[in-house]
């Protein structure tokens, strides 16, 4: 499974010129509103006329303006979860979920109806009409409806916009499970760094209708040069780890041979988790500090020191195979004499690893 997208053309008052390709997994398109994210999603789904472009999904050429190929949207077999859910108001939830069942033509959805209902917790909603659903409930139904069309690719256009924290978390976890359990490739569109950090395998950074940068999400998050794209407040590395200990009030996560401690998680030993640690939550020291209340003191090696235009300094740190990003003031960077390949101790406060940054992956 792979996705190749190449689009050019003017849409209304802005010009789009993007090109990216990605292997399987979740591709996140990240950018501010007006960056062309939704236009790309609609073009992939075939809902928008494209003057010049090429879209290949899984080796299947869906659009090639030079060769004249242009598969109709209903034949593309791409599930779309729209920002506004777009449930059919004249059908109840069950009928919405079953809408695509008559068009499957022998294909079997990755998850059965019951499994989908289970995954998205839809049981209590089945008899209800869309009008009686909250925003989060609508979005869950929309995801289920798209899933049951047996898509080869799921496009999610800002699926969490307008949802409150708890609901977001719930849907995010469902999406994670989907990606990992149903092995369903996704294109996820978002302007939320925390969302992208949890879902993206490949990250495409968009600005003003063109691709600023694209690559493996881990590399981009750990790249101090690109921290500005995400915003200084939001910059931070994404680390993969495994639950190594779970006792009393502490859960320990093994990240590249180092142990990070955080608040108790309801996850068994061996659960894979993704942690996002904001650069602004990391404190640096050149000597191993003692007598600190912070529990997480990691011995790392400085990789890069990048001074940003605003005078702050982004430091990337090696932690085994993983990377960590820290944000310090220029004065501190000079005082500590941070240079590549020197040892630095990264101090991460227990409380700066909020639960929301942890997603269980099994």
């Amino acid at each position: 499974m792979s996705v190749e997208v190449d689009l050019k053309g003017s849409f209304g008052d802005f010009t789009l010129d993007v090109s990216f390709d990605a292997p399987s997994g979740c591709i996140s398109l990240f950018g501010r509103s007006g960056a062309g994210k939704t236009t790309i999603a609609q073009s992939i789904a075939g809902l928008r006329k494209v003057k010049q472009g090429r879209i290949v999904v899984d080796g299947d050429v869906l659009l090639d303006t030079t060769g004249g190929a242009n598969t109709a949207p209903h034949q593309r077999n791409i599930g779309v979860v729209f920002q506004e859910a777009r449930l059919f108001p004249h059908y109840d939830v069950t009928a919405n979920l079953n809408f695509a069942s008559r068009f499957l033509g022998g294909r079997t959805p990755q998850l059965s109806f019951d499994e989908t209902v289970d995954l998205l917790d839809l049981q209590p909603l089945l008899k209800r009409r869309p009008r009686d659903l909250s925003g989060g409930e609508k979005q869950r139904v929309a995801i289920g409806r798209a899933l049951l069309s047996a898509p080869r690719l799921l496009v999610l256009d800002e699926p969490l916009t307008g949802l409150d924290g708890a609901r977001r978390e719930q849907i995010l976890q469902a999406l994670e499970r989907l990606r990992d359990r149903a092995a369903l490739p996704m294109i996820h569109i978002s302007h939320s760094v925390s969302e992208v950090a949890l879902l993206a395998d490949t990250l495409v950074l968009l600005a003003n209708g063109s691709v600023e940068h694209s690559g493996a999400a881990r590399d981009i998050f750990a790249n101090p040069d690109l921290a500005g794209m995400l915003g200084a407040e939001e910059a931070g590395a994404v680390l993969n780890g495994t639950v190594s200990r779970n006792d009393n009030a502490v859960t320990a996560i093994d990240v590249g041979g180092h142990e990070l401690q955080l608040g108790k998680m309801d996850a068994p030993h061996g659960t894979k988790v993704r942690l996002r640690i904001k650069a602004s939550d990391v404190i640096l020291a050149t000597a191993k500090p003692t007598g600190l209340s912070a529990q997480n003191i990691l011995s790392t090696v400085v990789d890069q020191v990048i001074e940003r235009p605003d005078g702050e300094v982004m430091v990337s740190l090696r932690l085994g195979d993983e990377r960590l990003l820290a944000r310090v003031t220029k004065r501190a960077a000079v005082a500590l004499e941070l240079k590549p390949d020197t040892v630095a101790y990264a101090i991460i406060k227990f409380t700066s690893l909020p639960r929301a940054y942890v997603v269980e992956r099994d």
Partner: protein, 232 residues
Amino acid sequence: MTDWLSPAEWQAVWLSLKVASVATIFSLPVAVAVAFALARGKFYGRQLLDWVVHMPLILPPVVTGFALLMVFGRKGVVGEFLYDWFGITIAFRWTGAAIAGAIMGFPLMVRAIRLAVEAVDRDLEDAAATLGANGPWRFILVTGPLIAPGVIVGAILGFAKAMAEFGATITFVSNIPGETQTLPSAIYAFLQVPGGDEAAMRLVIISVVIAVVALAISEWVSQWAARRVSGR
């Protein structure tokens, strides 16, 4: 009821129902197509089509009747062709009354259906497409059900208009008892003869009842529709 109405009166009621039903059944699909063209079409002459459709609503009915006579009369463009090739006469026949009723009711039908078509969220059709539904299926499963209430209201209004049509009908097909004498024509005819007031009054009452029932049904349907389409 047959005792209450004389055979001539009963005939007028029956003929009116037949004329209005035929007019509605045959013009409804055309009205749906025209409503879609006006609501969604992007073609040269759309404005012109809009005006032509609305003409019967604005013109004096006599003018419409006269125009129909010019077109469908024995010497008319279409009328002559139909007579020469198929031996079909429309003018002064009940079929002509149906055509007159259909044309006079057409703008009302189109207006009601067009409003319903314009109210459909086209994003829902896009969503249906991504779920695998082709054009006809999108119409059957999404657009059709969503505009159905508007189509029903349009049909009822068109039917009521065809029942009530007088000016164009009498100009086009005259006032022949048993052939073209619909309710309004019959009322008019009864009022022209001494002592016909009572018969006219009976037909007036029937007209009022039919009109009120049609209005009530269309009102009820549009409320039911609003609930259904919004998902309540």
